[in-house]
């Protein structure tokens, strides 16, 4: 038996690491991986809450059990689509600018 707060703390830590990587890292691919880390942290809290509410509420009326796990699938689909499109954008950017450093991608800066 593991309390749900442990899972939520782990989830929050993963999300915080993702945010920190998003802000600290200068390589555009690593920044993208930090976003994936954030999505994984959110997924963990989805699954933990699905288990939690299943235990607490049981088959309550109007509450679809396990919907948290189904939401994880939708998050995964969005993450996969985002990874495909984002990496294509990265390839296009690299083809134009010959760099992966976000500090040098400052064409829109005044």
């Amino acid at each position: 038996m593991v309390p749900i707060s442990y899972y939520l703390v782990l989830s929050g830590f993963l999300f915080a690491c993702g945010v920190a990587g998003f802000l600290i890292k200068r390589n555009i691919i690593t920044i993208f991986m930090s976003i994936e880390l954030m999505l994984n942290g959110v997924n963990l809290s989805f699954v933990a809450f699905a288990a939690h509410w299943h235990v607490i509420a049981g088959e309550a009326k109007g509450l679809v059990p396990l919907s948290g796990q189904v939401f994880v699938f939708f998050v995964m689909v969005v993450a996969a689509a985002e990874a495909a499109v984002g990496l294509a954008i990265i390839i296009a950017v690299y083809r134009n600018r010959e760099t992966l450093n976000v500090d040098q991608l400052n064409l829109l800066k005044l």
């Binding site: 749900i4 707060s5 390589n27 880390l37 288990a51 995964m76 499109v85 294509a88 954008i89």
Partner: protein
């Protein structure tokens, strides 16, 4: 100390170590490998929560497909060591107080709600049959919409990653003739 808690702590330690290693490494391929470790350990956490199908999909889709795509892009673009630049002042200004506030909040939450109801391992039926019934009955419309989303993503990535035509081939062929 029950076996569930020991397993949770073991998988959680791998998660935390991988996440920190992702931040510490400078080469993107090392970050990608540590992210794969995080995702595999998260699959173990899902198993502890009784979500077997989610754990399997996590390994197959996340640690398999998506991360292979990342590693492939890193190899394709020949990404090297990250260049160190001076940190932005805004990040220092908001990041350090943000980290302090967040850690205080998390510590307060753990101390205050440490006695909440427990989640038993394998407490809920996360088998593929139940998930499939939910997906194709209760969540049918979102499921169909995600298929449209994937179609758009496929077309977008093909258009974005395809090489722009530099010189029309028919012109060069005519020149040769």
């Amino acid at each position: 100390m029950s076996i569930h808690l020991i397993l949770f702590l073991a998988f959680g330690a791998v998660c935390v170590a991988g996440a920190i290693n992702l931040l510490a490494q400078t080469h993107p391929i090392n970050s990608a490998l540590s992210l794969i470790a995080v995702m595999a350990a998260l699959a173990g956490e899902y198993l502890l929560l009784g979500a077997e199908f989610v754990a399997a999909v996590q390994v197959i889709v996340y640690a398999g497909a998506i991360m292979v795509l990342f590693v492939f892009t890193i190899m394709l673009l020949n990404a090297g060591e990250e260049e160190r630049t001076k940190g932005s002042r805004v990040a220092t200004l908001f990041g350090v107080p943000g980290i302090l506030i967040a850690s205080v909040l998390v510590g307060w939450m753990v101390l205050r709600h440490s006695g909440t109801e427990a989640v038993a391992a394998g407490a809920l039926p996360g088998d593929p049959r139940t998930i499939g019934q939910l997906l194709f009955h209760d969540f049918l419309l979102p499921f169909e919409i995600t298929s449209v989303l994937i179609l758009i993503a496929i077309m977008g990535s093909v258009v974005l990653a395809s090489k722009p035509p530099t010189t029309p081939r028919s012109v060069s062929v005519r020149k040769v003739d």
